[in-house]
Homo-oligomer: 532 residues x 3
């Protein structure tokens, strides 16, 4: 945001400079995590569909698995989300034909429990992803969490660990990262709590889990958004109380274009600047975490696990839910479907630009945000869609910015100095049209520039000065440059036309002094790989 | 209550006028509910006694069932009361010979679990009553409540619903009304809570139950009496916190003649005016509920479920309990009897008048009191007594006022303008001797006048003006008029003399202008059915 | 403590006078209790070791059992301690080969559950000790406590009591004294609570247990030491809330010579005066208990159960624990040993003097301290060591002061007037070198004088005037007099030299007026039995 007077830069041009750039931190592997919840067709009909032509012996769709690998996901948060707050982990273990069918209150569906921890562990082995587990703090608590931990990570020889061995998983699953519940500040959550209640509860659970396994990395629930009534107070109380045993505090944020019904341009411009909210969210949580550290005379920083983020058209979902609720005229008329179509947002070119912009923000804060999970992975507000009835899997527009960062953002993150024309937004005032971040891997002398043009109306010339990368000793050579843009920002991919919106080559001029220049059309995301 | 100067009415006469009467509301069917607790011989040896000559294949006494129907009970709250706070609902399901025997702490008895939810459902079908279930918030909480809900109301196809089907009940029981615990403000209660603790707990349970079934009608515990130390504060905190998911707040009130040992007339006069306390109780709870609505910017009114009310000689019970406690001189000397004689109050003519008076008060508040349960149904502070060892069932004095209202109070309630001589009471000051209410069913053009004379010493002439009933277009015709009174207000019915105190015909004069006149003896209840 | 000017008493002499002595109270049998926790080798390899040559059919070591009887233990607290906060009592019941193996988080060990309540009951019968049980308030709560109570004390005929009968214990165990959790104020405790949280929890549990069995004697957790951040506040809140249903509040205190590594004399002198801290602790808790009584307008005094006390080199343990924690470099590298060597402190002559001094303090406060448990009994900070691999059991130095008091402190306690030279301490200022207490059993006309010289440097002459013992009518006759002292206060017993430090005879001069005189060397404990 800038209210400065116009400078030498032309109104339609931006500069991105590595000189005086702040080295943020190394890129955490977990920044490219995703979220898999028992919700809609994310699990059933998504990663798991035994009747699908591509399914393997475990029932995992290989077409989906291939796209997951192509997406570059490093770590997967499981099994919820709201779902976990009324989940019995035991239900998803042991022989599949003996598992109980349950009502899930979070999404008002029938849960068959044909997938569970055992199965997800096998899927994680096949997908090469780290597991991040959430425990139920809604209908259960301390004891169930400890039992689950022992089942998952325990060495054979105790009743619970032996049960896992009997279920076919001989070695401890070695799950290091655990979420102590999910969005317990949300009034919608089964078993929601006040800040004081959750502070006491998470302090107890985290302490006991650490007694068992001191090397665990534990995530306390933070606010479900920066707009919760208890935002800030929640973080302060929770982290002050549980400081010594908690390593991360979670943050969740979803954004969408509130003008989606009418294609309102003011709303769209606001939506394009969503990263401003994420930036504010991260800074505020970091401040509260530091205050908690000070009160506890502590030496460690509480990190942020931004373990739900992305574009989600909650407005559409709420419309559906309201209609569904009103259609019920009696006690038993509410259906409990199994794996229904829920939250199956179809993403536009503009959505992809926003997701690319959010990823830039996460990278710029990766000294504090040491873990992140895009929500979700398949079918449910997801980059990967898996058609039912033997259909194919395909990529949404938002697939591309995530995949590029996951595969090519290595080494260290640098927050460049950006001088940019501004655009005026309803919620954030005047904001920079251009945002950018650079990663640089000194070992391989390869780097990645990620940038977005958040201006709904105007293209902008961008000049990037890469001089100053530590250890760079050759000339800048662009190895790959792409841009994601469509003249119709509302255009989407579909099952029938899955390549309607994909990245195109970007023309980049390279100067001898390490300066790159290119033009970003309105509403565009770009990635430039280079060596130096 | 009136301190006005004497008016034209003679000191010994009262007028009851429908002119300017306030239409309160329609008569709620649930106002004629009753309460069945696993306590003493209410269940075992009451509604259920398989060895009794009249027992059916399910073990239900038909003599009791016949009287329940004669009483006109519409809805039954089950299984407690204090009992529920240490109850496992699962214990009362499945094959009877596999059910566990338990200690019940609430009443220090042995619970055989031969009756449970399954059986009570069958009994409710046979008795034609709606079920109102209470869940255990003492030794259990959220998870057990959700499981119970799924067992009771779930559609077949989940583990819990299928368990019900396996136990012989194929269709969902369709129980709409659920009490979230019982008297959790009472220090005597297993698992009692502070106002803040219960507010948080009920908010969580009610929200999760509504997630499952939005059409449920949920009752939060209110105060166990208007004289609890947290009265008022309790309602305000609980309803403010749980406003959005709670539909009712409970109220409980028991009254008795504190001079029962010595036949103290001051105490008896006080007792006769007990409805004054109920009136104050209802008004106060309504005020707190409205305050909670305002704080929540809500649009719905929280209703009152007056789900325990009646005459109970708690003084006698406390004497028994104290003696019993003192008789124990060691750890194991406390007996744990099965279905002992507990709280088997025998009711007098005066008790019946008070119960009639309380029913008038409930009717006059039925815009807010949308549910009520007289406590209890059989043997335990009950209108119906069931003799053991193959003995008969018989009616107590209090049977009659309840039955008359349950069968004949239809349509709308009108609170007439009552001008009455007053009596002086210890607790309530000067109160009207005569109280009255009128119900009027415009569809059938039939009405009911209920009135009491609460004066211990004097008979009063009563003039009732029925002119003004909406839709009435004929002359008033009295179809039935009765009075319950005994010159000895302490006289009771007994097993041997079950008809000692019963209603007698009342002489009513009818004038052409719709005016009825009659004389009520001291300590009397009357009911006049009419058409117009 | 005294800052008075020197008086006629020589600086190196002390007087102990029964004239004007305060009769404290009768000696409570439970004052000589001990503590047995599932920790290290206290249970496994301690009281229970089925492979040991002396083991009986139940697996109990008879050499240990013989020493337990010689020690004179009256009452044993079981099964924890920290252990209980993650313990399932059911795990230790039923056939041994069907019991589950569990992780214990409190001590990071593997719990085989080969000992449990059933077995401990049998051991208590053989050792002639009363059982004092602690319930799990960490991972469980109200319901588990009630179930355990019914299993332990219930009369046959209910599911839980019948389970006990089936497990071979036909009669109720008749356990009267129950601890509602353990050290719930400690941040190290699984499920630790704030003062308000525990106050609410213990109030609920105690009330429900008393509903079941009014004659129970219930112990609320007090502070884990007088130096906890919530000390005082904890007692006040807990006892105010749960006053009516709680009989005891616990106190725990451990002391050790903080200069143990360097033989720092200032630290040793401080350690010798540890009873000053215990004295302050008891007085403060008594004050808080009395305040809670007043607020509740109560008539009973809350007693203190000093149910963990003794010398424990926590510094050594913390060093071990820190090293152990640091040795772990991964998730599964933390071992979960079964019955490892933990807390196996070896005690010196000075340690025995301190324990003797603490016992004197407990006796002087036995009007309020009506129960105490020395922690622990075997191997773990214990008077009795049991060598593994068929080895012998032997007595530590601290065995002797406990055994003498347990066997010979009968009748009433008198707190004599002590005039003593003082020693200067770092923590407590100037304190009396000599402390003493007298018990007197009028029925048998036998008494016991217990005294310590806490002076690290100087011997002191002691003159004891026993005139004034109620009912004494003969001349004072010393029947046995012993002193425990070693010129090297750091000298210990060992398995190989178990009698290195034992009591020796003490020379006592008796005068006709009932005056005894003797000299106590520096750092010495003495016991003089007499008749009168």
């Amino acid at each position: 945001m800038s209210n400065e007077a116009p400078n030498a830069t032309s109104p339609s041009a931006a500069t991105v400079s590595l000189a005086n750039a702040r080295r943020v931190a190394d890129v955490p592997a977990r920044l490219f995590g995703s979220f898999v919840e028992h919700l809609g067709r994310c699990v059933y009909g998504g990663i798991y569909e035994p009747d699908h032509p591509t399914a393997d012996a475990d029932g995992f769709r290989q077409d989906v698995l291939d796209l997951v690998k192509e997406l570059g996901v490093t770590c997967v948060r499981y099994p919820g989300g709201n779902f976990v707050s009324n989940y019995n982990w035991e239900d998803g273990t042991g022989p599949r034909d003996q598992r109980p069918v349950r009502r899930d209150l979070a999404w008002h569906t029938t849960e068959t429990n044909q997938m569970g921890i055992d199965d997800f562990y096998r899927w994680s082995q096949k997908s090469g992803t780290e597991i991040m587990l959430a425990v139920n703090m809604g209908t259960r608590g301390l004891k169930a969490a400890l039992d689950e931990l022992e089942y998952v990570n325990g060495t054979a020889g105790t009743e619970l660990a032996d049960r896992r061995v009997k279920n076919g998983i001989e070695e401890p699953m070695d799950v290091k990262m655990w979420c102590i519940g999910n969005e317990m500040d949300g009034h919608w959550q089964v078993g929601h709590m006040s800040p004081d209640e959750y502070a006491a509860a998470v302090d107890r659970v985290a302490h006991a889990m650490k007694l068992a396994e001191p090397a665990l990395e534990l995530v306390a629930c933070g606010s479900s958004s920066a707009h919760m009534p208890t935002f800030g107070e929640w973080e302060r109380k929770v982290l002050t109380k549980a400081y010594h045993d908690v390593d991360f505090v979670s943050a969740h944020a979803y954004y969408h274009d509130h003008g989606y019904r009418t294609h309102d341009t003011i709303e769209m411009q606001d939506f394009l600047a969503s990263a401003e909210d994420m930036n504010y969210f991260i800074n505020t949580v970091a401040d509260e975490a530091d205050a908690a550290k000070a009160i506890n005379h502590g030496s460690k920083d509480i990190a942020i696990s931004f373990d739900e983020w992305g574009v989600w058209y909650q407005g559409r979902w709420n419309e559906q839910e309201t209609a569904w609720a009103k259609s019920k005229n009696g006690l038993h008329h509410g259906a409990w479907p199994t794996a229904p179509h829920q939250l199956e947002d179809i993403y536009s070119a503009a959505d992809a630009v926003v997701e690319g912009s959010l990823m830039i923000t996460l990278l710029k804060h990766c000294d504090r945000v040491r873990s992140a999970s895009r929500a979700q992975l398949v079918n449910v507000i997801a980059p990967i869609m898996a058609e039912p009835n033997g259909g194919a899997a395909w990529k949404q527009t938002i697939f591309y910015p995530f995949a590029e960062a996951a595969h090519y953002a290595h080494g260290d993150v640098f927050a460049p100095v950006v001088e940019s024309p501004t655009v005026t937004t309803k919620s954030y005032g005047d904001v920079a049209a251009i945002d950018a971040v650079v990663t640089w891997d000194a070992a391989t002398r390869s780097g990645l520039l990620l940038a977005v043009n958040r201006d709904l109306d105007a293209a902008h010339d961008v000049t990037v000065s890469l001089a100053g990368l530590p250890g760079a000793d050759g000339a800048i050579a662009v190895t790959h440059a792409q841009v994601l843009h469509d003249d119709d920002p509302y255009r989407t991919n579909t099952a029938d036309e899955p390549n309607a919106v994909t990245p195109a080559d970007l023309a980049v001029s390279t100067a001898a002094d390490g300066t790159l220049t290119f033009t970003l059309p309105a509403v565009a995301w770009t990635a430039v790989r280079f060596t130096a």
